[in-house]
Symmetry: C2
């Protein structure tokens, strides 16, 4: 009896919840990939048997979560992973200096352990994907393509998190990294040495490949401590100049 | 020159970004608290000098982030912290068993360190707030008020995170705890011993008060390992019964 009540509470959902889940299922089962256009709002409303404004409400939640984007005059496009549990607040405002340091402190707490686990568990496919990101990053450095480099470096860190095998932890880290990406891009362009960064990433990757969990952990820690040192010095210098 | 370019990119924002930030500022500077009603959409649109549908777009982002809620016929209410950086996806679907275990694994990685830092840094006010949550939780147990108990226990964990002084880490943990709350409520009601939980919380609090960082760390770790054991056993039992 008591258990029945609990279960009922767990699964109680509103029409809007049902519609949101329905849209997510449609994106996945329909095989829609990031970049694909979805059917029109009115076609989707007819599909789910609801009024268009009601469907639009559900779609707005997915929009705010970054899963879909409305493009004026051209339709609704898939722009993010529909199964994300933890996300960066799409309505967030800019980060202050302390928040930038908090982001790096958070990464220092989480990522060395993720690197350790990735060394123990990464599949051949996951290692190949991580190695592929490194190759792309090297090409971006050689082409002085700074705009591509930062996202590739961020994806390197998220790919290691994913290989550690905990979806929630991966998404928590991914959200934190997403917060930090605009800052990272600016700091990277002004102060960091892209080859040093790249070589440290390469060392971490090599530790993953030889399944050396301790080295992967320690190299990730030292890498992030180095990033934190550069960022702290940058923020101090900017403050002194103001 | 290069720095100027980077800075420009960092601060480039769309009208929608400006409006979203404007609404957040209005909520904060207007002193609106959670539960308060905001001015109407048309009054806000006039205030910002934009068309109502444009303002509505910005408001939808805040709605999806949980900051405000549209209540049919009665207006728009403040329902969450407008400054959150990391949030649980408001469009998320239900958690599977593996995700529930991933949540606890994530908490085990983060929370012992947060408890250690809270023991070192918590202010008198923060300790008083944490103690107040424990008192409320005791009253809820004595009144067999299960519906109040779970949120109070979750707030206890988030309050310790906050006392550790890293906003990003606090919000990452808060998002993870929010994901887990429906499950926690059901599992707590069926299987857990509320007094055991409460006494473990009390022990952690005592360690914070006497600024014993190592004890706070270790007690938090043991507490979460105990929760993980109960949850794992519950999920195993349910699977066997299916």
């Amino acid at each position: 009896m008591k258990e029945g009540k609990g279960r009922a509470r767990l699964t109680r959902r509103t029409l809007l919840d049902e519609l949101t889940a329905g849209l997510v299922a449609l994106i996945e089962e329909g095989g829609y990939q990031i970049g694909d256009r979805l059917p029109s709002m009115s076609a989707l409303a007819a599909h789910f048997g609801v009024a268009t404004p009601t469907l639009r409400e559900a779609a707005r939640r997915l929009e705010a979560a970054g899963t879909i984007t409305f493009r004026h005059g051209s339709g609704i496009f898939v722009t993010g992973d529909s199964r994300r549990l933890v996300i960066a607040n799409p309505a967030r405002t800019e980060l202050g200096d302390q928040t930038t340091l908090d982001v790096l402190d958070t990464r220092l707490l989480i990522e060395p352990e993720l690197a350790r686990r990735a060394a123990e568990r990464a599949t051949h496919e996951q290692l190949a994907a991580i190695g592929g990101l490194l190759d792309e990053a090297r090409q971006a450095i050689e082409a002085a393509d700074e705009q591509s480099l930062t996202p590739l470096n961020m994806r390197f860190h998220v790919a290691i998190a994913r290989a550690a095998g905990n979806q929630v932890l991966t998404e928590a880290l991914q959200s934190v990294v997403e917060l930090y990406e605009p800052q990272q891009s600016v700091i990277g362009q002004i102060y960091a040495d892209p080859w040093r960064d790249h070589n440290e990433h390469r060392d971490i990757y090599d530790a993953l490949v030889r399944k050396d969990a301790t080295a992967a952990h320690d190299l990730m820690r030292r890498h992030l401590e180095g990033v934190l040192a550069v960022v702290s010095a940058t923020l101090r210098r900017e403050k002194e100049r103001d």
